[in-house]
Symmetry: C2
DNA sequence: GCATTAATTCCATAATATTCGAAATATGGA
DNA sequence: TCCATATTTCGAATATTATGGAATTAATGC
């Protein structure tokens, strides 16, 4: 993952509304969610939600698929994994370090 | 980790200079680094570097320790791990998901 | 074609973050 | 005490980002 992409992804997640949207999609899994249901869950005006979904999309953290009148958004787990990996890459100059990463999931 | 703390941490990492500073400290490991050497490595004016170090400190991602005339900054690996864990927590509603996290280190 | 539902784009306003020179503070040694 | 080195704080200009109502685009069925 390139530095630019990492910064885009971090910026995308550095906002309460977007973090909540992303977490909602991470928890939702393969089924994803539509803007309508997300707006209901998080009590966001449609225009505001749309702005944030575009940011997350642009950052590559989520994907979009049309299904009739609805759009379905889904978390991009590969991108999330790449982001996490970037932070720890080359940690401690490769020396052994033994604090557990404590990831609750292997998505 | 609380949502507020996650947002602070993400905001801190959502900037090229801070991401570079943090990565430098992650790679440096327990030895850490002083503002002087960081400024040299990244070609940053002292005032600018200081501003960013304060942000990272405030976000809990790094620690500070005085040693004579120098300050030593170090990555906080526990906080980094907690941040990574927050993103994946409750992923896919707990269903099995098998894409590897691809973390290169267990700090 | 027209009405209906779903979602996005436009736009003006408001709020927040970034930069870095110059001045201030802290430490240790002569 | 006084000087040199290390680092931070101040401050003011600049740039970026977020909000949400109203208008617009897209898809479906009658």
């Amino acid at each position: 993952m390139e530095e630019d992409a990492v910064i885009k992804a971090m910026s995308a997640l550095a906002h309460a509304n977007r973090l909540r949207i992303f977490r909602l999609l991470v928890v939702a899994g393969g089924a994803g969610a539509t803007p309508g249901t997300i707006a209901d869950s998080l009590a966001l005006p449609a225009a505001t939600l749309s702005f944030h979904l575009k940011e997350l999309l642009n950052a590559g953290l989520i994907g979009q698929q049309r299904q009739g009148r609805n759009l379905i958004y889904r978390a991009d787990y590969a991108q999330m994994g790449a982001l996490l990996a970037y932070l720890t890459d080359n940690c401690c100059q490769g020396e052994a370090c033994d604090q557990p990463a404590a990831l609750s999931c292997q998505c």
